[in-house]
Symmetry: C2
């Protein structure tokens, strides 16, 4: 698998695009941990080294390059250092850019692909979307990925600005006779994306000329996590050739064919374990993607810099007799058993040492014990103390799960009552609730009247909690609270008779008068920045600057939307490009601009159709050739 495509006789390297693919690098994960704090950066450096050694034409990232919405100066500095070291330099760029850069990179400072910036010397162009972890957040809604775009290290693409309709125009690249159409979709709430797909509101524009290899990069749930809580593969259009699927952390980078749609899906997985689950203990990889005209191959590159991680889950029921867990000091017996297992796991971890100089050597160890009785549980924290200096995570090496005993019949064979079964189920469910927002959610569902919130909707409170815990996005909290504050003030002002004394009384009606408040919050948090004025380096922030608009005050969200929708796009008309896009700056905002969007789409219908129609137009070509694609290519050097 490591042999180079270019070595085979039939395939001219000048016609072969080589792309280093990686995803979910989570820079800054656990950065304050004195042992593990550097792991994410070491792995990213290895990825960049593989790109350099393989002399790739580009790097393609699948989102979550950063672990939190507002990375620390420490994380940013390390990231900038790595990118500046590996991505800048003198190598010639062999990719010809065919599509409209001004359109592909509309939010960037220069509106150009980075290697055409005359003030910077790019050796390897990086293309990336953002994930849920590096989604826009905070004041100004700037994704950390935006910083890399502004600095010229990364070509950040796949942005959407309209929550009701998404139109994806590909980046078109050529190297010799190979042509690539690269579609990106930045992370979006799965449920919202499913609704857009159901309503055929996701548009993918196909290139005018034929012969493009079509890649889509996205960052969504792939595993089914409840209905509408993941993106079904089959909802993607058939004309695609390869999907690079970010977000899922287990490495399934070897392309898997979708049986119905006949495209391939490659899921790179993460480069650092952000949880100690079984999926994260699989060998981590990046991949070398080679594309030659309509053929492709993906060579997985196992990462040698990853901290060894051994995971084991043991059901104590299976060793119940062997360990004689029915008698004596059960806790001590289980602890002795765990000691044995962990010693064996530490031994196995040694086999994962690669000799890569920067590989961190202390292993991650996770032993999950499924208990049959609560008496089997020992003090895992104290247990861990013994492993300081031998294991990277001594404090959470052992976790216990209590196996619920739900019996439909009791010992005598009598059926148990349903209420008892439900109680057992609830008990089981509660054990699973470990996420902060679930606890908050349950609290308000179960709390009595007196404990309910007066202003905030409990669902908004739950969302606030999730944003803070998952993405450390404190600004989201500020925004939510500010939103309710404004709404409550507006509400109070609308109640003529309210006096200072009767505020509490008046507020009692607040919830009832605003049943869809939480939906408004969701929309506010999802809302994207407007397409900015082009000539001004502070352009994304035009609205902030506009004293008179802001000074009107009250209902912050509503005014912002109206202002954005009614403000004409500045300086766009003069920038050339396709004629019908003059009004697009304004239409990127929600609401009032619906009409103009429809107009644009009808004007562009020759190129631009909904997924459903795209799929039907291309399906004949696809079924005939798709299956052969990967195999042909592979056979060259097997």
């Amino acid at each position: 698998m490591s042999e180079n495509v270019s070595q085979t006789a039939e395939i001219n390297p000048d016609d072969t695009m080589k792309i280093l693919v990686a995803s979910d690098i989570h820079l800054g994960y656990n950065e304050k941990d004195p042992i593990r704090g550097n792991d994410s950066f070491i792995a990213f450096e290895e990825v960049l080294q593989h790109a350099q050694e393989n002399e790739v034409d580009a790097i393609l990232l699948g989102g979550d390059l950063f672990h939190v919405a507002n990375p620390s100066t420490n994380t940013l500095d390390k990231c900038f250092r790595l990118l500046k070291t590996y991505v800048l330099g003198d190598s010639p760029i062999r990719l010809e850019f065919l599509s409209d850069q001004n359109d592909n990179f509309i939010d960037s400072l220069n509106r150009k692909v980075n290697y055409e910036d005359p003030d910077m010397n790019i050796a390897i162009p990086v293309f990336s979307i953002h994930g849920n972890h590096d989604d826009t957040g905070g004041a100004g809604r700037i994704s950390s990925m935006q910083l890399l775009s502004t600095n010229g290290y990364v070509n950040y693409f796949g942005k959407w600005t309209d929550l009701n309709k998404i139109e994806i125009r590909p980046i078109l690249l050529r190297k010799g006779e190979t042509k690539l159409a690269l579609y990106g979709l930045n992370y979006m709430n799965d449920a919202r994306l499913c609704r857009l797909l159901d309503d055929a509101k996701l548009y993918m524009e196909k290139p005018d000329e034929p012969g493009f290899f079509n890649i889509m990069v996205l960052h969504q749930n792939r595993a089914e996590r409840g209905p509408k809580n993941y993106l079904p593969e089959s909802s993607l259009p058939q004309f695609l050739d390869l999907i690079i699927w970010g977000h899922e952390h287990d490495c399934r980078i070897e392309p898997e064919e979708n049986a119905t749609k006949k495209f391939y899906v490659s899921q790179p997985g993460s480069t650092v374990a952000t949880s100690l689950s079984e999926g994260e203990s699989i060998q981590k990889c990046c991949g070398l993607l080679s594309i030659h005209k309509g053929l492709f191959r993906m060579d997985p590159i196992p990462l040698k810099s990853v901290r060894p991680f051994v995971f084991e889950s043991i059901d104590l029921a299976t060793v119940q007799e062997e360990l004689a867990l029915d008698e004596g000091n059960v806790q001590q017996k289980v602890e002795n058993f765990a000691t044995e297992r962990i010693e064996a796991m530490i031994e196995r971890a040694k086999a994962k040492l690669t000799g890569y100089p920067k590989q961190p050597k202390l292993p991650l160890i996770r032993l999950r014990l499924l208990l049959t009785e609560v008496e089997q549980q020992f003090n895992a924290i104290r247990f861990g103390f013994r492993y300081h200096g031998r294991v990277a995570n001594p404090h959470d090496m052992v976790v216990f799960k209590k196996k619920p005993k739900i019996k439909v019949k009791d010992e005598l064979g009598n059926a148990l009552d349903v209420a008892a079964l439900q109680a057992a189920y609830r008990n089981q469910r509660e054990q699973r609730v470990q996420r902060a927002e679930e606890i908050v959610d349950r609290y308000f569902r179960e709390a009595d009247e007196a404990k309910q919130l007066e202003i905030l909707n409990p669902r908004s409170m739950t969302e606030l909690c999730r944003m803070m815990v998952d993405y450390q996005d404190d600004d989201a909290a500020d925004k939510i609270i500010k939103f309710y504050e404004d709404q409550a003030q507006t509400f109070l002002c609308s109640q003529d008779s309210t006096t200072e004394e009767s505020i509490c009384e008046a507020l009692a009606e607040f919830h009832a008068s605003n049943p869809d408040m939480h939906d408004k919050v969701t929309s506010m948090l999802d809302a994207r920045t407007n397409v900015p004025d082009s000539a001004d380096p502070l352009k994304r922030f035009r609205d902030l600057d506009d004293d008179d608009a802001s000074a009107a005050g009250g209902g912050a969200v509503d005014t912002a939307v109206t202002a954005a929708a009614s403000k004409p796009a500045r300086g766009r008309g003069s920038r050339g490009g396709r004629g019908s896009r003059g009004g697009r700056g304004a239409s990127a905002a929600r609401g009032k601009a619906q009409t103009s969007i429809s107009t644009i789409f009808s004007q562009q219908s020759a190129n631009n159709s909904s997924i459903a129609s795209v799929a039907s137009r291309t399906s004949s070509r696809k079924t005939a050739t798709q299956k052969a694609r990967q195999m042909d290519f592979d056979s060259d050097d097997e």
Copy 2:
């Protein structure tokens, strides 16, 4: 004053360095305020525009470019956009770099001045120190200024790493026949700096050859704020020609001569008002510094982009009779009076509109009323509501101060007792306590035994509070708490007889056993990173990476220091430069490395002497020529 030096016959522009000087730009100040959030960026853009229009050779900043230790993605993106737009480009660089770049920029990625980076195209080199607001913080102790250095926008200098001895080597630049020695000192706690000066532990290396114009940039308290709480001008060495004094926000950019030391001090002031005090309402400026051999002039450039700000302080005692404040509805009378004043102030603010397109137009208004009776105070917040849309800060437009009435004699002429006077004074003092850390400090000083902290020293708690409030540096809080946690654990482990039950009892001895705990915390927070390995882009973080060192655990600070001091500097010997610096990587850390530092200094004593001796060696030259310097130069175009 605006005529260009180069127009005069005697002065050749090829021998004249032009430097744009600014300070305390506080990017991101109040960034969430929908009205004022963009002010700091607009002012910075104007500074950069002046640099571009005046075709300066460099920009020199005096610290506090950022307002907080961990700027948001919004702030960083705007800052990067501005720097990339104005600082990159094709203009030729006319400054020749004479000193050892590897030494001047030892912490930077390339260890080079940015305009010699082959991968970037610099048009205007920026040189900057950091201030207290953009001091190092958080995991890895990375100053936000470091990010600008890594990205190549700014030449970040003036770092010190050793808390016990500071040695400043200048950046040496030449343009034609003008030679500049640029000394920088990043912000340091004033008291610590005063101690270093008292102990003659601040060394400034003079260039080997004569004829340099000597500038020092620093960021300290200049105004006397208690003994040891500011840097006395007179403690700086006489050989300096000009001090650029950052940190103080009132603009005193016109150079002021120090009567004893005969050097000049120019205090640019801030470019944005971060408090509504009188000093911030003075016209804000940056300056165009021209240096021709031994001559210089500073042309203030009034900033046109600054939001109008009118400040007024009125003692109601002076209008007591006019307003008849002894009778009737006093509150209403004062409110009416305030309305009049504020209308007049809004009128005066209009005169501050400059016509600069991006200047924010809503004015900042601050009316401070000194009350004689508490009854004169009205509801300033409700009062402010009327000014929404007319004023940028309606909610804090009016503030009240209660003038304390301390009478030494009562109405009958009898002397009052001392206790009553003291009470009055305390009352007055308490009114002044508005800072969070002072409240914390007072709480613990006044709290009884039961309310005292068990582990943390109250002074550390106060410091923690200050770091969080002033610089939003949450990581400092984490660090302090972690430090005490480690110390307490170490203490407990040293108490042989401690059981789980007796922990509380044992901890009662913790404070007494560690009287100097807070000093250790201060040292920990002040400690700087070690001089890093050069070839590795992740180099600043070598220690984090070192599993085995970290895994030893316990007493985090002590082990870190020892490790740094005993670890040999890597890869330094082979990099050329002055012979005696081989061991310096290690000696930059505190403690055990003292001997090697002394050795270095004795070897370099020809160049390098303490301030006292430098001053005496140069004083003869200085007294003869200094006074004439600025005047000669100015007279050319007056």
